[in-house]
Protein backbone atom coordinates (compact mmCIF):
# COMPACT_ATOMS: atom_id res chain seq x y z
CA UNK A 1 0.00 0.00 0.00
CA UNK A 2 1.45 3.37 -0.97
CA UNK A 3 1.14 6.35 1.30
CA UNK A 4 0.69 9.80 -0.18
CA UNK A 5 4.00 11.63 0.01
CA UNK A 6 3.63 14.29 2.70
CA UNK A 7 6.33 16.49 1.21
CA UNK A 8 6.24 19.27 -1.34
CA UNK A 9 9.31 20.60 -3.08
CA UNK A 10 9.23 24.01 -4.76
CA UNK A 11 12.39 25.01 -6.62
CA UNK A 12 12.86 28.57 -7.86
CA UNK A 13 15.71 30.63 -9.21
CA UNK A 14 16.87 33.55 -7.09
CA UNK A 15 19.42 36.24 -7.64
CA UNK A 16 22.82 35.40 -9.05
CA UNK A 17 23.33 31.70 -9.62
CA UNK A 18 21.48 30.81 -6.44
CA UNK A 19 18.38 28.61 -6.25
CA UNK A 20 15.88 28.31 -3.45
CA UNK A 21 14.50 24.90 -2.54
CA UNK A 22 11.37 25.40 -0.48
CA UNK A 23 10.22 22.28 1.37
CA UNK A 24 6.79 21.76 2.96
CA UNK A 25 5.64 18.81 5.05
CA UNK A 26 7.51 15.98 6.72
CA UNK A 27 10.96 14.70 5.75
CA UNK A 28 11.43 11.11 6.83
CA UNK A 29 12.70 7.79 5.48
CA UNK A 30 9.75 7.65 3.07
CA UNK A 31 9.74 11.20 1.75
CA UNK A 32 13.45 12.08 1.81
CA UNK A 33 14.22 10.44 -1.58
CA UNK A 34 12.03 13.09 -3.24
CA UNK A 35 14.06 15.84 -1.56
CA UNK A 36 17.30 14.10 -2.47
CA UNK A 37 16.23 13.90 -6.12
CA UNK A 38 15.30 17.60 -6.24
CA UNK A 39 18.62 18.71 -4.76
CA UNK A 40 20.54 16.21 -6.88
CA UNK A 41 18.86 17.46 -10.07
CA UNK A 42 19.93 21.03 -9.34
CA UNK A 43 23.52 20.02 -8.65
CA UNK A 44 23.59 17.90 -11.81
CA UNK A 45 22.54 21.05 -13.71
CA UNK A 46 25.50 22.95 -12.27
CA UNK A 47 23.72 24.80 -9.46
CA UNK A 48 26.11 24.89 -6.53
CA UNK A 49 24.66 27.66 -4.35
CA UNK A 50 21.46 26.65 -2.62
CA UNK A 51 19.14 28.04 -0.01
CA UNK A 52 16.97 25.30 1.45
CA UNK A 53 13.94 26.79 3.15
CA UNK A 54 12.65 24.60 5.99
CA UNK A 55 10.07 27.07 7.31
CA UNK A 56 7.13 24.90 6.26
CA UNK A 57 8.74 21.63 7.37
CA UNK A 58 6.94 20.17 10.36
CA UNK A 59 9.25 17.20 10.95
CA UNK A 60 12.69 16.02 9.91
CA UNK A 61 14.60 12.89 10.90
CA UNK A 62 18.11 11.58 10.34
CA UNK A 63 17.40 10.55 6.75
CA UNK A 64 16.37 14.13 5.99
CA UNK A 65 19.49 15.44 7.70
CA UNK A 66 21.48 12.94 5.64
CA UNK A 67 20.05 14.34 2.42
CA UNK A 68 21.03 17.87 3.44
CA UNK A 69 24.55 16.75 4.42
CA UNK A 70 24.91 14.86 1.15
CA UNK A 71 23.85 17.93 -0.83
CA UNK A 72 26.26 20.14 1.06
CA UNK A 73 29.16 17.78 0.43
CA UNK A 74 28.40 17.69 -3.30
CA UNK A 75 28.19 21.47 -3.76
CA UNK A 76 31.33 22.02 -1.70
CA UNK A 77 33.24 19.91 -4.21
CA UNK A 78 32.42 22.67 -6.71
CA UNK A 79 33.10 25.58 -4.40
CA UNK A 80 29.43 26.06 -3.57
CA UNK A 81 27.46 26.14 -0.37
CA UNK A 82 24.08 25.40 1.19
CA UNK A 83 22.37 27.75 3.62
CA UNK A 84 19.22 26.84 5.50
CA UNK A 85 16.21 28.86 6.58
CA UNK A 86 14.79 27.55 9.84
CA UNK A 87 13.05 29.18 12.77
CA UNK A 88 11.03 26.20 14.03
CA UNK A 89 12.51 25.55 17.52
CA UNK A 90 11.97 21.78 17.39
CA UNK A 91 13.74 21.42 14.05
CA UNK A 92 16.44 23.85 15.05
CA UNK A 93 16.99 21.73 18.17
CA UNK A 94 17.77 18.70 15.99
CA UNK A 95 20.46 20.68 14.17
CA UNK A 96 21.80 21.84 17.52
CA UNK A 97 22.09 18.44 19.21
CA UNK A 98 23.60 16.78 16.14
CA UNK A 99 26.17 19.55 15.81
CA UNK A 100 25.02 20.36 12.27
CA UNK A 101 24.73 24.04 13.21
CA UNK A 102 28.50 24.05 12.79
CA UNK A 103 28.47 22.95 9.16
CA UNK A 104 25.33 24.68 7.84
CA UNK A 105 24.60 28.35 7.81
CA UNK A 106 21.14 28.62 9.40
CA UNK A 107 19.18 31.84 8.93
CA UNK A 108 15.80 33.26 9.85
CA UNK A 109 14.80 34.39 6.35
CA UNK A 110 15.47 33.55 2.71
CA UNK A 111 16.89 37.03 2.18
CA UNK A 112 19.44 36.61 4.96
CA UNK A 113 20.37 33.12 3.74
CA UNK A 114 20.85 34.36 0.15
CA UNK A 115 22.88 37.40 1.17
CA UNK A 116 25.23 35.11 3.09
CA UNK A 117 25.72 32.98 -0.03
CA UNK A 118 26.49 35.64 -2.61
Amino acid sequence: MERTLDIKVNVREAQGDCYIVELSGEIDVYTSPKVKDAIGDLIDRGVYNLVIDLEKVRYIDSTGLGVLIGGLKRVREHGGSVNLVCTNPQIRKIFDITGLVKIFGIFESEDAAMKALV
Partner: protein
Protein backbone atom coordinates in the same frame (compact mmCIF):
# COMPACT_ATOMS: atom_id res chain seq x y z
CA UNK B 1 21.06 7.14 37.35
CA UNK B 2 18.50 4.54 36.31
CA UNK B 3 15.39 4.67 38.49
CA UNK B 4 13.13 1.67 39.12
CA UNK B 5 9.98 1.58 37.00
CA UNK B 6 6.50 0.95 38.52
CA UNK B 7 5.09 -2.52 38.98
CA UNK B 8 3.21 -4.09 36.07
CA UNK B 9 -0.14 -3.29 37.75
CA UNK B 10 0.44 0.37 36.97
CA UNK B 11 1.39 -0.13 33.33
CA UNK B 12 -0.95 0.26 30.36
CA UNK B 13 0.36 -1.52 27.28
CA UNK B 14 -0.31 -0.56 23.67
CA UNK B 15 1.10 -2.88 21.01
CA UNK B 16 1.59 -1.96 17.37
CA UNK B 17 2.93 -4.04 14.52
CA UNK B 18 3.82 -2.38 11.23
CA UNK B 19 5.25 -3.75 7.99
CA UNK B 20 9.01 -3.22 7.85
CA UNK B 21 8.68 -0.58 5.14
CA UNK B 22 9.30 3.16 4.99
CA UNK B 23 5.72 4.20 4.27
CA UNK B 24 4.58 2.89 7.68
CA UNK B 25 6.99 4.82 9.88
CA UNK B 26 4.70 7.86 10.02
CA UNK B 27 1.94 5.70 11.47
CA UNK B 28 4.29 4.41 14.17
CA UNK B 29 5.44 7.85 15.26
CA UNK B 30 1.92 9.31 15.28
CA UNK B 31 0.57 6.36 17.27
CA UNK B 32 3.32 6.61 19.85
CA UNK B 33 2.77 10.37 20.06
CA UNK B 34 -0.89 9.71 20.87
CA UNK B 35 0.13 7.41 23.72
CA UNK B 36 2.69 9.93 24.99
CA UNK B 37 0.12 12.71 24.98
CA UNK B 38 -1.98 10.76 27.48
CA UNK B 39 0.93 10.88 29.94
CA UNK B 40 1.11 14.66 30.07
CA UNK B 41 4.42 14.93 28.30
CA UNK B 42 5.07 18.41 26.96
CA UNK B 43 4.81 19.09 23.24
CA UNK B 44 8.61 19.22 23.02
CA UNK B 45 8.93 15.89 24.83
CA UNK B 46 6.34 14.31 22.54
CA UNK B 47 8.33 15.52 19.54
CA UNK B 48 11.45 13.91 21.06
CA UNK B 49 9.59 10.61 21.53
CA UNK B 50 8.19 10.72 17.99
CA UNK B 51 11.64 11.23 16.54
CA UNK B 52 13.21 8.51 18.68
CA UNK B 53 10.65 5.87 17.70
CA UNK B 54 10.87 6.89 14.04
CA UNK B 55 14.66 6.58 14.14
CA UNK B 56 14.34 3.13 15.69
CA UNK B 57 11.93 2.02 12.96
CA UNK B 58 14.14 3.56 10.26
CA UNK B 59 17.14 1.64 11.60
CA UNK B 60 15.13 -1.57 11.41
CA UNK B 61 14.05 -0.85 7.83
CA UNK B 62 17.57 0.00 6.72
CA UNK B 63 19.50 -2.69 8.58
CA UNK B 64 17.19 -5.54 9.65
CA UNK B 65 17.22 -7.32 6.34
CA UNK B 66 14.56 -9.95 6.09
CA UNK B 67 12.36 -8.72 8.92
CA UNK B 68 8.73 -8.86 7.76
CA UNK B 69 7.50 -6.43 10.36
CA UNK B 70 8.45 -4.24 13.28
CA UNK B 71 6.79 -4.55 16.68
CA UNK B 72 6.42 -1.45 18.81
CA UNK B 73 5.37 -1.89 22.43
CA UNK B 74 4.35 1.19 24.39
CA UNK B 75 4.24 0.82 28.17
CA UNK B 76 2.57 3.84 29.69
CA UNK B 77 3.19 4.15 33.41
CA UNK B 78 3.04 6.89 36.00
CA UNK B 79 5.83 9.27 35.16
CA UNK B 80 7.37 7.42 32.26
CA UNK B 81 6.88 5.87 28.85
CA UNK B 82 8.87 2.78 27.91
CA UNK B 83 9.08 1.90 24.23
CA UNK B 84 10.33 -1.41 22.86
CA UNK B 85 11.04 -1.61 19.14
CA UNK B 86 11.68 -5.13 17.89
CA UNK B 87 12.64 -6.40 14.46
CA UNK B 88 13.31 -9.92 13.27
CA UNK B 89 16.04 -9.29 10.73
CA UNK B 90 19.55 -10.63 10.68
CA UNK B 91 20.53 -8.05 13.27
CA UNK B 92 23.33 -5.57 13.36
CA UNK B 93 26.34 -6.63 15.38
CA UNK B 94 26.45 -4.79 18.73
CA UNK B 95 29.79 -3.19 17.93
CA UNK B 96 28.23 -1.62 14.84
CA UNK B 97 25.52 0.18 16.82
CA UNK B 98 27.16 3.43 17.71
CA UNK B 99 26.58 7.11 17.55
CA UNK B 100 28.41 9.21 15.05
CA UNK B 101 31.39 11.36 15.78
CA UNK B 102 29.96 14.88 15.53
CA UNK B 103 33.15 16.19 13.97
CA UNK B 104 32.55 13.84 11.07
CA UNK B 105 30.28 15.06 8.27
CA UNK B 106 29.27 11.60 7.14
CA UNK B 107 25.62 10.63 7.15
CA UNK B 108 25.53 7.34 9.08
CA UNK B 109 25.03 7.06 12.83
CA UNK B 110 22.83 10.13 13.22
CA UNK B 111 19.77 8.06 14.07
CA UNK B 112 21.43 6.25 16.98
CA UNK B 113 22.91 9.52 18.17
CA UNK B 114 19.49 11.18 18.16
CA UNK B 115 17.88 8.29 20.05
CA UNK B 116 20.54 8.43 22.74
CA UNK B 117 20.25 12.21 22.97
CA UNK B 118 16.47 12.41 23.16
CA UNK B 119 15.59 9.51 25.45
CA UNK B 120 16.52 9.05 29.12
CA UNK B 121 17.44 5.36 28.90
CA UNK B 122 18.43 3.34 25.83
CA UNK B 123 19.32 -0.32 25.68
CA UNK B 124 20.06 -2.37 22.56
CA UNK B 125 19.73 -6.14 22.69
CA UNK B 126 21.09 -7.67 19.52
CA UNK B 127 20.52 -11.30 18.75
CA UNK B 128 22.44 -12.34 15.65
CA UNK B 129 20.07 -13.78 13.04
CA UNK B 130 17.10 -13.19 15.36
CA UNK B 131 16.78 -9.44 15.20
CA UNK B 132 17.27 -6.47 17.44
CA UNK B 133 15.32 -5.20 20.44
CA UNK B 134 15.70 -1.56 21.35
CA UNK B 135 14.25 -0.46 24.68
CA UNK B 136 13.99 3.26 25.42
CA UNK B 137 12.50 5.13 28.34
CA UNK B 138 11.38 8.74 28.51
CA UNK B 139 10.52 10.12 31.92
CA UNK B 140 8.26 13.04 32.68
CA UNK B 141 10.33 16.05 33.59
CA UNK B 142 8.33 16.73 36.75
Amino acid sequence: MTQPLPSTDDIDIVDLRIPCRAEWVALARLSVAAVASRLNFSIDEIEDIKLAVAEACTNAIQHAHGSPYIEIKCEAMPGALRLSVRDYGHGTRPEHIRSRDLTDERVGGLGVFLIRSLMDEVDYQVHPDQGTLLIMVKRLAN
